[in-house]
């Protein structure tokens, strides 16, 4: 992991409690850690962009061109949870399991940079994992239900609710 403020390796991982029940993590090289910890020095602004999002912007060998490319990628929307790639970049959090497929091309270099590998080699759930179709159907129908309720289309909402119950029963 690199220092948040320069290209040196981060050797300090600092967790600050910024307010009751909230904390923030920092990753710094020696020099920037010292700056951060010295109260008289500049105050580090609480950045809205997560450390992860910064990492994403700074994928090795990407540089400025990647920023331009990423603006196109930013507009991608997950059909299941409706999150845009830009929202992920800003928060560092994905919206649903299906995002790993929708944003696959953008996520792979990030996974490579964070983990040094891109393929799982560990525990496999005992139950056969559901296929993508099964995994996403319910999330999608629940979204449709939310929209139907918002549009006050209660007839559609009732049908969708029944459909959800049916699928849940089938999967149980």
């Amino acid at each position: 992991m690199k220092c948040q403020k320069c290209a040196k390796p981060a050797t300090f991982h600092i967790t600050d409690i910024v307010a009751k029940g909230r904390h923030e993590e920092f990753h710094f090289c020696d020099e920037h850690a010292r700056q951060h910890l010295a109260p008289a020095e500049e105050v580090v602004e609480a950045s809205p962009i997560s450390e992860l999002a910064k990492k994403l912007a700074g994928i090795p060998g990407a540089g400025g061109a990647a920023m331009r490319e990423s603006t196109a990628a930013d507009k991608q929307v997950c059909p299941v949870c409706q999150i845009t790639f830009l929202e992920f970049r800003n928060t560092g959090r994905l919206g649903c399991p299906y995002d790993y497929e929708v944003f696959r091309d953008e996520l792979m270099p990030l996974l490579e940079s964070v983990h040094g590998e891109t393929r799982h080699s560990g525990k496999v759930p005992r139950r056969a994992p559901r296929n993508t179709q099964q995994q996403t159907t319910l999330i999608q129908i629940r979204n449709e239900l939310k929209r139907a309720v918002a549009a006050e289309d209660y007839e559609a909402a009732a049908q969708l609710r029944d459909k959800i119950k049916r699928i849940e029963r089938e999967q149980a």
Binding site: P97, L111, V114, G116, R119, R126, P129, I139
Partner: protein, 353 residues
């Protein structure tokens, strides 16, 4: 079991038993898991979070853990903080919003957070250096939960998590170590750098505000994708003994080089804790760390390590306020803390309930 009952007990992981427990306070593993049929917590509506909560609660019940579920959403801030201090919930869960909670077993070895960053954050802790044992237990628990819920999983990327830094195994394997010798010998930066090089993270634990938590550090893995759980555990079980050796050497250096100075420092620390009338959290942590070192080096012989371990938690703000039965200002807390310390230390040895 209620939260008030918990003020009269303490977690098994504080017991100070198990291998290397003079330095390794506890071994901890957490697994991040999500339900396949719901968006991740940050994207879930209130209704969806309730859905996740009820499914997980049912799965926990079916797993027959003898766990109690606490509704964190309905709790006061003080109670939330109380759970954070005990390492049962994360500050993210405490400070979050919407339906969320935690299932805890009576010995506090197991906690299952619901609707944290991931739908489930399963944690298993044991006192001492016992990572393989912890893995065996949490692996089994994970299997039992999975009998009743469908996890989001892909064969190529493993367990899918809200943050890509946890994807794959979703595992965080860690030990909480007490390193007063290395700190006194000014070697802690070197340890940080060495661990960094082999891809392990070291974090200082923090108590009230941002002051260090009595020379305790947490060493854990970063990487969750591409290595198996066993490989990740092996990284820790290979490296931690070297740190323990380094700490033992540093302690030995203190004893041989500056025995009188060390004995004086330990005795003064113990004396202040036994007699102070008002004391800050910061000073308490510092002195408890000296006392803990003193017990391990045989300089104090009328106090159990379990009592000192517990005091690190029981002198935190929320615990003191729970004991008092309501909120206390900083000054009042300092008085309450000193009074609590005096009474606990007067009980002395033999208190290892």
């Amino acid at each position: 079991m209620t939260l008030d009952d918990m003020t009269r007990t303490s977690g098994e992981w504080l017991r100070g038993t198990g291998p290397e427990s003079d330095i390794v306070m506890c071994s901890r593993i957490r697994l991040a898991r999500n339900l396949a049929d719901f968006p991740f917590s940050n994207r879930a509506s209130r209704g969806e979070k309730l859905g996740v909560e009820s499914q997980v609660k049912a799965a926990v019940e079916a797993a027959e853990l003898d766990a109690v579920y606490f509704d964190v959403n309905a709790m006061s801030n003080l109670d939330r903080q109380f759970l954070v201090e005990r390492q049962i919930v994360s500050s993210e869960l405490a400070g979050g919003e919407g339906p969320r909670g935690v299932a805890v077993t009576p010995k506090e070895n197991v906690s299952i957070m619901v609707n944290e960053e991931d739908h489930l954050r399963i944690q298993y802790m044991l006192s001492g250096f016992r990572l393989p044992e912890v893995w065996e237990a949490i692996d089994d628990l994970d299997d039992r939960l999975e009998e009743n819920v469908a996890y989001a999983y892909s064969s190529s990327l493993g367990y899918l998590t809200a943050c890509p830094t946890n994807v794959g195994t979703g595992i965080r394997v860690g030990v909480m170590v007490h390193l007063p010798g290395i700190v006194a010998g000014k070697g802690i930066d070197k340890v940080f750098r060495a661990l960094q090089k082999i891809n392990l993270a070291v974090r200082g634990l923090h108590g009230e505000g941002s002051q260090a938590f009595g020379d305790f550090y947490q060493i854990s893995n970063h990487q969750t994708l591409g290595k198996s759980e066993e490989e990740i555990i092996r990284m820790l079980t290979d490296v931690v003994p070297q740190i323990l050796q380094f700490e033992r050497q540093a302690r030995q250096d203190l004893v041989t080089g500056r025995r009188q100075h060390l004995h004086d420092q330990v005795s003064r620390a113990y004396g202040v804790l036994k007699t102070a009338q008002t004391i800050s959290s910061e000073e308490t942590m510092l002195l408890l760390s000296s006392v803990r070192l003193g017990i391990n080096l045989g300089l104090i012989d009328d106090l159990s390590i379990a009592t000192v371990n517990e005091l690190f938690i029981q002198t935190q703000p929320a615990f003191l306020q729970k004991l008092h039965g309501g909120e206390l200002g900083v000054e009042e807390r300092n008085v309450a803390r000193a009074s609590f310390l005096r009474s606990r230390l007067a009980e002395g040895r033999g208190d290892d309930e």
